[in-house]
Structure formats: structure tokens, C-alpha cells
Amino acid sequence: MITIDKVSKHYGNFQVLTDCSTHVNKGEVVVVCGPSGSGKSTLIKCVNGLEPFQQGDIHVNGTSVGAPKTNLSKLRAHVGMVFQHFELFPHMTIRDNLGLAQIKVLKRDKDEAAEKGMYFLDRVGLKAHAHKFPGQLSGGQQQRVAIARALAMDPICMLFDEPTSALDPEMINEVLDVMTELAQEGMTMMCVTHEMGFAKRVAHRVIFMDHGKIVEDDSKEAFFANPRSERAQQFLAKILQH
């Protein structure tokens, strides 16, 4: 589904990603972790072309992200993305947040878009809030709306960029529950997250990044039982202490 092939990226002299290669199969859940500044968010943003890269290429469902001919808008319309800070549109109701791209990008008619939006809003348990504005919801609720907004586009895969790191602790689980459910239904997912519990429960594979490089790329069993690199061992020791 997603193939990342020797991707490198730099800002001027600063190397952000070096020679990153991996793949995500259909129906697979891959968790990307690593210390802050390791390039994991940048890597996931390269997958749908939000961040350009200078070397290598990424293919999503056979379409090259790096090729200048590729219609990135068309590709992104079917690759769902969830952001750290939710990025709901604050000047629109929840209903319109869910409908906008369906209507403008997928050219669905208003009724169809509203129906689809309500279906996914119901699935994340927020149907009663359709008429509200994002500012009236809690962080956890906003992030669930953001997930519903992405799902309403009928994505072929979902990218999560630290979806719980801006949330208060008591709201993290409601978001992780939605993600877990999604994974169990067979959605292809690539998640940047520090939630190792989620990774242990849900992921098939774990990628560990450090200094812009993919240091480990292994099944979750192998990663948690026996991390090969010293850097990953240190990282796990720190993060699992709590």
C-alpha cells in the first residue's frame, strides 16, 4: 500500500531524513516512534506530499508521490490524515467540517455528504454535537471529529501524526479507542505516536527513528522483547518506566 524508498530530505544544510525505506502493507498497522526531532513527523508528512523530499520516492497504492506529474490533491483526497492539533476548521460547524471536502473535492451532493458525515460522527460517538463549533468541544472530542472527517473521504489508508500528544491525559483513551477499532476493522494505518500501550495492543510492526534514520523496523513482538539498537533500548527504558 505504502512504499517508502530511500527517502532523504534536508532544509539547507540540515539533514532531516536520511535514506529512509520501509513499507506498509494493506491492512497493516505500523507505529512510528522515536525521540522528538528524530524526523518521524516529517516522514509521515512526506507520505501524502505535505512535506517535499529531495531524494528517493514514495508510492501510495502505486502512485508516485515524488513525481512532478502526480496530482497530489487527488492522491491526498484518499489518504486520511489526523494531526496533533486536530486542525478542525474553527469557523464551521462540525457538520460543515465533515462536509466541506466531500462536497468540494469528491463532488458529492450536500445530502449525501451530510449523511456520510453523520454516519462517521455517530461512529465516533459524537452525533449529538453536529451543530456545534469545534471550540465548543473538548480536545478529545475534536480529535475524534478529525478522525471522522478523514474517514468520510473513504480513505484507502490513514496517517496519524501524534494524534494524542496535545491531549489531556484523561482524553487520550477515547481517541486511542477509536483508532483501535479502526485497526481491528482492517484499516491500513501509519501512526506516529508515543503511546507504547497502543503499539503493543494494536500494531503489527514498529519503526524506531533517530536522527532522521530508520534505526529499527521490526514486528512489535521483536521490537518490545528485544530491541537491537542501543538507542531504541534507551528510548524504551525511558518511556516504559512509567
Binding site: 486542525e87 476548521f89 474553527p90 471536502a101 469528491l106 478523514a150
Partner: protein, 229 residues
Amino acid sequence: MFGSYEFDWSSIPGSLNFLGQGLMVSLEITALAIVAGIVWGTLLAMARLSSIKPLAWAAAGYVNLFRAIPLVMVLLWFFLIVPKFLESFLGLPPGSDVRLASAMIGFALFESAYYAEIIRAGIQSVPKGQLAAAHALGMSYPQAMLHVVLPQAFRNMVPLLLTQAIILFQDTSLVYVSALADFFGAAYKVGDRDGRLVELVLFAGAVYFVLCFAASQAVRHFQKRLQGA
């Protein structure tokens, strides 16, 4: 010297109709300059923020040029040059009265430079993640700007845009250089005719004050409501 001056306001009541027409001209120029200034200013602001360098430079050049020239000079150019250009371009008979059109164009071009800067700041006040989220949903750049970024930018800018509109209304008095009977021009003409310039200019000043003060109070009220919401 003022002690011996005797005020005579008697020429005002009979001229109210003429002065009212002048006020309409001022308001017309203001309204058109606001609309054109916002539309053209938005395009300039987007060009200035564009990653296409020549476009950004051209827009920056335009904005810096117009912001560094006194308005009265721009209006004079448009009074001297544009009417001739319009005559030949539109095939109008020589001597057609295109002063109003000319003043409006001059104003719109000048004010759009100021609006462009306000709008640029407004666009930059919208978090970058909003554009990224719109892109991630498959929206093109124009779609993302139109539906996501600009509505939020304009909401943040409303008080500044209204304040600029009040300044603009005051600036319209400068079109008197083109002998156009805007409100100030009309007042000046009446005062000149009746030898009562002092009274008429004081009267015009009072009217500008009342209108602009009332408008700025309304903006303040509006701003408070916006912050309260």
C-alpha cells in the same frame, strides 16, 4: 484678529442639497475603493506570500511604491494622465467627464496597497496547520484559501479593515485637487462663492468628525462583541 471676525452661517442652509450631493460622491468613492481595495489587496497579499519569487517581488514592489508616495500625488497623476488614457482607450469624445472614474481608480490602486498589508497579516494569523489540513483533505490551493484560510483571516481582520475604511473616507477629501465636487470640494466651492470659506471649512470638518467618530465608536463596539464571542 479672530475677535473682530463675524461668523455668518447663512450660506449653508441653502446649499445643503449641493453639499449632500458632494457627500454622496465621497461615499461612492469610499465604497468603491473599499471593495476594489479588498479584492485587489487580497490578490496582492496572496502574491506577496507566494512561493513564486517573481510574483512575490512584483507584489512587494507595488505595495512599497504606493505606500511611499503621498496620496495627493497619485490623485494628481490620475487627474492628469488617466482621463486622456480613458478617452483614447474607450473612444470617448474629448472633454468627457471621467474625473470620478479616474479618482476612483487612483484611490482603489492606492488603498489596495494598504489593504494588502492588512490582509497579509490576516492570512499569516491563521495557523499553518489549517492550510495543511485543507491540503490533506485533497483541496487545491485556491479551494483551501477560499474556504478555509481567507474566511478566518477576514474574521481576524474586521476591526482593522473597518478602521482603514474610516481613514479612507477622510482621505477622499483629497480628490478636491481634481476639482471634483466631493463633500469637501463642494463645501469649498460654496465657501469660495459666498466669501465664507472659514465657516464652510469648519462646517465640513464638523461633518467629517461626526461621521468618522460615530463610525469608529461603532467599530469599537463591534470589536468588543467579537472578543466577547
